[in-house]
Every structure is written in C-alpha cells, then in structure tokens.
C-alpha cells in the first residue's frame, strides 16, 4: 500500500511545467487524496509553496531525495 494516491515525475522540466502538470493531476483527485511530485528544477521548491498558497491545497512535505526535489500535496 502506498502512502499517496497519484504520482507525477516532472524531472528535467523547468517551471511552469511541473506546476501545470500538478494542477491538472490535482484536478483529477478527490478531496483529501494526495499527489507525490518529483522535480529537478531548483525553483520548484518556492514554486510549489506559492502554488499551494494560491490554490488552497496543502503542501504536506517538501524535501530532497537523491538529488531530486520531492513534494507531497493533499487536495483540499
């Protein structure tokens, strides 16, 4: 059993693609479901904070794993 409902790999892509794809992926989720995002754009850390602030979704975690940025967002 995984601890997220959907996963998006946006490695190698610069802003706005990770944000745009996350927005579309979240649109397909139910409230309370979670999306895990993997990105390599160093700007994505700030971008996902701003994205969640502006869209009202919850940024559960934001961190680095093996040189990539990993975010967990809960649709709310």
């Amino acid at each position: 059993m995984s601890d997220f409902d959907s996963e998006l790999d946006a490695s190698g892509l610069n802003c706005p693609l990770p944000i745009l794809r996350a927005k579309k992926a979240i649109a397909g989720l139910e409230d309370g479901q979670t999306l895990r995002i993997i990105a390599t754009d160093p700007g994505s850390v700030k971008d996902f904070e701003a994205f969640c602030k502006q869209t009202g979704n919850t940024l559960l975690s934001s961190g680095e794993e093996g040189g990539k940025f990993v975010f967990m967002i809960k649709k709310s």
């Binding site: 706005p16 745009l20 502006q54």
Partner: protein, 223 residues
C-alpha cells in the same frame, strides 16, 4: 568613504556597480580602478572581495544568469490553456528585463565572450520556454507527422527568437523603438502570431485542453 558596510554588504555594493559598468562597457571597457571609484573604495578593498577583474566579472554573470522567474501565477490565474500560459510567461519574462535591462546586456556579452555563463542563462531562463513549447507540441502533434522532431525544435526556436528580438529592439537600442507598446500587448501579440504560425488555433486549444488526460501514474488505493 563608506566604512560602515559589513563584508557581505560591501560585496553586494561592489557587485551592483560592477554589473552596471560591465553592462554598459563590456569586460574590456572597464577597469578595476573605475569600479573601485564607483563604489567609493580603494582597489585594495575591492581585491579583498574579488581576486581579479575576471573573478568579479564571473560573479556578476553568475548572479544574473541564475535569476529565475516564477510562472506560478501564469498557471494558477488562468484556465491553464497553452495560449494563456504562454502569454503569462512572456509577460513575466519581459517584465524581468524591463526591471533590469542589464540581464539582457550581460547575457549578450557573455554570448559574444564565449563565457560558460551563457549556458546558465539558457538553463535558468530560456529553458522554461523551450520545455513548455516542446512538451505542449509533443502532446498535440500527430505521431506520424513528417519531420516531427525538427518541427517542434523550430517552433521553440522561433518563439525564443521573437521574444529575444522584441527585447533587443526595446531595451538595447539607444532609443526604445517599441515605446508606444505596452508589455502585455506585446506579449499577447507575439503569442497570437506564434500560434497562427505553428497552426494551433484557439478552438483547437480549448477542445484539446478540455479532454486532456494527464499522463500521471495512478496508484491503486487498495493494498
């Protein structure tokens, strides 16, 4: 003489003046003495922060070429279709040059100098457009179309070229040739022309976007 500045503040004030001078006159047109005078310090103090003129020039390039723009609002504040997002991105990008035309001047100089920072200007700044156009066209073009790769690449180059030329005309000419055009008008018009040129029309965009199935991997929630 300013003696109250802390080390990092002093370093920042040197970078600021050096950016202005290098942007106006290029690497060879500026001496360390001139920069020191502009910051109101002795060359000895300047050398305490940067070991050579090249070192200082590289620091100026590094600072500018790593500046990234955020396109979050272009995505969040629109229905996220190709056209609206591209217009939003273009506006943000042009505004960044409007706020600091040195970004463009220094980028052009690093290009001519063959400075490695040129690739950073691409990675941190232009690649957003390249990625976005590549990805979006890749999603939309039929898979069996002839010369698919080169069509996508050319479209991406075309758009970057249009934006770059508009910026050169507006910010590097002694007189702004586009003085009567607002940044958002300019962005909108460039994107409209671009979409027409690559054969993507608004109706197609709306249809395509409304049936877009996101290619994310959905994990079954059952264990």
């Amino acid at each position: 003489m300013n003696t109250r500045l802390s080390g990092p503040e002093r370093r920042q004030s040197i970078l600021k003046e050096a950016q202005r001078l290098f942007a106006d006159k290029g690497f060879h047109g500026v001496s360390i003495d001139e920069i020191a005078r502009a910051v109101n310090v002795s060359p000895a103090i300047l050398y305490r922060h940067f070991k050579s003129k090249q070192d200082l020039y590289d620091a100026v390039l590094q600072e500018l070429s790593s500046q990234r723009e955020s396109y979050v609002e272009a995505v969040v504040n629109s229905d996220a279709n190709f056209e609206e997002v591209l217009i939003g991105m273009t506006e943000v990008f042009i505004r960044s040059i409007d706020e600091n035309p040195n970004l463009l001047r220094i980028e052009m100089q690093s290009l001519l100098d063959g400075n490695p920072a040129t690739s950073e200007f691409f990675e941190n700044r232009w690649k957003s457009f390249a990625d976005y156009i590549n990805y979006s066209m890749n999603e939309r073009l039929a898979y069996d179309i002839a010369d698919r790769e080169i069509k996508i690449l050319s479209a991406s180059l075309m758009f970057q070229g249009m934006v770059r030329e508009a910026l050169l005309q507006k910010y590097l000419q002694p007189q702004d040739r586009l003085i009567d055009v607002s940044l958002s008008e300019l962005s909108r018009e460039l994107v409209t022309l671009f979409l027409r040129a690559i054969g993507i029309h608004e109706t197609q965009l709306t249809q395509k976007d409304s049936i877009d199935s996101e290619q994310t991997k959905t994990i079954p929630s059952a264990s």
